[in-house]
Amino acid sequence: MQYELRQQVVEPKRQAYQYLIDRFGDRPASRYEEGTVDVQATENFHYRPTWDPDHELYDHGYSVLRLTDPYSFLDPRQLYYAPYVTSRAAHYDAFARTLAYLNERSLLERLPAGWRTVLTTLVLPLRHYESGAQLLSCDGARFAYGTSVEQCCTFAAFDRIGNAQLLSTVGLALGDGADTELANAKRAWLEEPALQGLRRYVEELLVQRDWGVSLVALELLDGLLYPVVYRHLDEVALLTGAGAWSLVAQHFSGWYKEQQQWLKALEKAWRADPEQGEANAAALAAIRDAWLPKATAAVAALAAAVDAALPDAGAATFADGLTTEVFA
């Protein structure tokens, strides 16, 4: 006697939601696609904003950079709420462990001469830079067109305020738990000549209305600032006995690599757009021409000040040889 076991497959009536089937065909969709594609409303906006009657609530016209189909860009990291929160919780745990280690071994107090000056007057004030970057990302989160871009901007905004907080915790540790170093850093952000280029850059971006220009111009500056502060100074720190900064910087350079992933994909989508591609390329070139010289000058000023405090750092030379990877 032999039994043959057979199973019966019941085909589901549909593999995904209709709006995804319309776009991708009847195949199982990922959580990311379900929560992203075609989610933003595109029609039946009854009233125009009273503060901007020329635009709909969600409108292509808020930027010169446009996508014919906003979902031709999808986040390569495929982040939606749950994986975003999980990955950032892990990121913060790792940072907290680093900080606990620094405190336990008093590594921040034992930094070589010059490093404390660099950290307190030049690096710590960058928490205000991050805060400005957060506002600019919020602008994209509200005015971009299409959930895929808006979502990336929203996450970037939270990341930026997170970066500012991480820098603040370093400041508190440098001040032995008191907020004196944070107050000094605020004053340095407002008064230190080497930082005024950065402050001016961010503040000028804050008062112009095009979210796309802000996003691109900010990345042009990030693309120079992050390598200098979190990559080059990291290397210098290792060679000159300031291991504490290297331990801190790794978290920022790691985050920045991830940030660039979606910006690279967005740039590719902007340039490859069948209808808007050429206009986008022209707009990107115009933004680069207008903002990159200012970004270069701002970072050069910062690098020169770093070299003044740490004569062997070679930050200015490093900054001079840098080229931006994204939107260049």
Partner: protein, 94 residues
């Protein structure tokens, strides 16, 4: 005289997280047959089955290490001929 064809293959759990792996295998191994049975994806092939880290990562959107493949395997047929950081190869070795 006919030579028996020995199929090698692997059975994976059918979940949200293994879907990217199955898609990567389908893309890298054009001659495989993929059968979906409840809760399970059965992959069979005459040729070696190759699972590449890069292809999985591209679909998953995050770094993926080959040892994570173990979380998806229910069963397999053949030998695991190669299991390094970049790819896994399943085939009959003799």
């Amino acid at each position: 005289m006919t030579t028996a064809v020995r199929l090698c293959g692997v059975d994976l759990q059918e979940t949200e997280s293994t879907r990217a792996i199955v898609e990567a295998i389908e893309a890298d191994n054009p001659e495989i047959t993929v059968r979906h049975v409840p809760g399970l994806v059965k992959i069979q092939s005459v040729n070696p089955v190759v699972i590449k880290r890069e292809s999985v990562e591209a679909r998953l959107g995050r770094p993926w290490e080959t040892h994570e493949f173990q979380m998806a395997i229910v069963s397999y047929a053949g030998h695991i001929a190669e299991w390094d950081d970049d790819e896994i190869v399943i085939k009959w070795e003799h």
